[in-house]
Symmetry: none
DNA sequence: AATGAATGAGCGTTCATTCAT
DNA sequence: CATGAATGAACGCTCATTCAT
């Protein structure tokens, strides 16, 4: 069969952008909805936001929301999973980069800090739902998945600590708890800083000083 | 009805118990409602619990709930504030006890650990709502109050660290951030332990070892 | 335990009416809702009636409807099943009365005629849903149940015809089809009469004359 | 574009087919939509079918449906009216054929039987909507029209009976009610047979035997 | 004082219809 | 013309709150 001029044009377009204009527009609309929903959810919490509100903020009709997301819960889940994935992959990548363990953990802290700052809204949502491991909203399924993501990162961090301990870089303490401690500590700083940036600016050097240098041998 | 003999009886009763039988009964009812509500809220989250359900669990009529609490939100707030108060006063007291700063911080950790374990339900609720300082439910007013309670405790802990630093007990680091770090770290351990008590039992010695001994001079 | 005056009064009341005043009121409310719903459903059909409308017609709030019926469908089903039961039991009883088969079938016709006239609304609904065995609305379950009711009556009628045939009362034709024919014929008359009572008054003697006397031997 | 040659071509085409290709295509499309709609409506009922579904089944876009039918109701009406017309004209024709009245009524029964079997889907729809003269859906207008069709056929049947009576073919009973009775009876058989073809196969001889021969003089 | 039946505003969701492409 | 994404009115249903008993 000979491709008609339309599909030829379409395929040429796709060569460059991989996606047709229509598809790109769709993705953008989807993103707009997600953004509007994120803002509202993190401002007021899942149950205090109506689909109507999201539609208005996103400047679409309610029905359009349902073209992109099966229901309110799916929309919510999508938002959380997106961030969770972003965080997990970003932090995992950092911990897999080459370099000594000391540098890796430093980089992990910097990245986490950056992610938190750039995604304050999402962090608020994330912790309200999976907050320090505690969730009571929406489906248990979501909670489980979020916890699993968190656990994966902690495990990877623990591995780094373990290697560091083997190399006599760090003091010989339980690496899992070390990871937990480091993460919990940084959370406390980040939350404190995010809540009240003027009085308690986030200072990664300080976190390192308090936590990290003590663990570091010599 | 003969008012005199009644109020006489009442006054006599009050001599002993400070509260008449009626009043004692009221307080007990109130407590029963709060308990039922706490259980349900921490099981399913604020928005997934109906007043009907609370009434049934507490074995009262719905109307009765409204005799004790202005509305659902007030009931919820009461529960959170109660715990927050319990935690604040318990932890504040510990930090005011005489003894060296090292012992105080150790005692703080033990107390916090005990409070968490004894009030898992409330802790779940607290962190889901005010989790690590993040709240998106109910009124902002509640959030502010809960944060203020948390801040008070951290401040007090910071004071203890400060004194400890002055006495050259601890290394000369910013006492506020030290407090934050200690608290964040212990939270991470406690949540990890509460979520999965078998794999990650809460071990206060370990927390001390990781965090505390390093801070301790000599 | 000594019954208090309230429960004594209550039990005395129940002796007479079997039901307390409250319970009687509830049943009446239920009936009012059913009546309003019946009227609307038979006027406009299941899907063209809103719960709001039913509530308004019944002079209750929407929520109240849901106190009595789990959902719209349940309310609808209740209406249909009630009539179906009424018809089935009334017609079954007639066919079980003593007397010769000729008289029984005559009585069946008279009763059916009376039931149709007294329950025009319900008959409309019934036939719109299970109409001559055709239903495409609501759940298949309802359809099956309604058909089973209809079948029961036809079977009983067939038995009467069978006995009549054995006694050489009626001509020796298949009793089931005889029953079917008789019922179908009377339906046609009744519908015609119900639709246009002036031009086609329902005349049971006529039905008998056309159908019945021919079947009757001598 | 050269209008002349086009319209010439068109006119030539019309000479042969009376309709241009375009017009034929249009009619075919229309028929495809009606077929898809018929299937869905009779499977699930008017209100349980969406325009989307019809579009998908007919393999057109939703908008195309609206090019052919003003709205969903119009589409529905069209389907019902089509069948009603089919039935009316087929049955009317049969009753106008030459031959004695006995043969005419026999032929009427055979034709009706055939129409029912060949159009089960439509019969289901028809009776669910106008069932035995009972309609509660869509517009009253439709109901009136359908009833009028039915009435026309019954009237024609009544005329046949009347002539038969005049010729002393049939017993001297009211011809309208005779027609009604005959039709009602055959409906009962047909529905019983359509619902459960194995247990109650439709047997026109039986119908004739039960109803017809009794009416027949000598 | 305690009750719980009644209320009705407000939610999530659907789907007939439109219209820019 | 045909398309199908976008629309938003309208639905069934819930549940916090009230108030007659």
């Amino acid at each position: 069969m000979i491709p008609d001029s339309y599909s030829l044009h379409k395929r040429l377009a796709m060569k460059k952008n991989k996606l047709s204009r229509k598809e790109r527009e769709q993705l953008q609309r989807r993103a707009l909805i997600l953004q509007a929903a994120l803002e509202l959810f993190s401002e007021k919490g899942y149950h205090n936001v109506t689909m109507q509100e999201i539609a208005i903020r996103a400047e679409f009709a309610v029905g359009t929301l349902y073209k992109f997301f099966k229901n309110k819960e799916e929309l919510y889940k999508e938002i959380l999973m997106q961030t969770a994935n972003l965080f997990r992959s970003a932090l995992s990548n950092v911990l897999e980069e080459k370099g000594d363990e000391y540098a890796q953990v430093k980089k992990y802290l910097k990245t986490k800090c950056k992610l938190f700052m750039e995604n304050i809204l999402l962090v608020r949502l994330y912790f309200a739902e999976a907050g320090a491991g505690v969730s009571i909203s929406v489906k248990r399924e979501l909670e489980t998945e979020l916890r699993s993501f968190y656990e994966q990162v902690i495990q990877k961090l623990a591995c780094v600590f373990e290697k560091g301990i083997q190399k006599k870089f760090f003091r010989p303490l339980d690496p899992y708890y070390l990871a937990l401690a480091f993460d919990g500590m940084s959370n406390a700083f980040l939350f404190s800083g995010l809540e009240d940036p003027d009085r308690h600016p986030v200072d990664t050097n300080l976190i390192e000083e308090i936590f990290f240098e003590q663990i570091y041998l010599t």
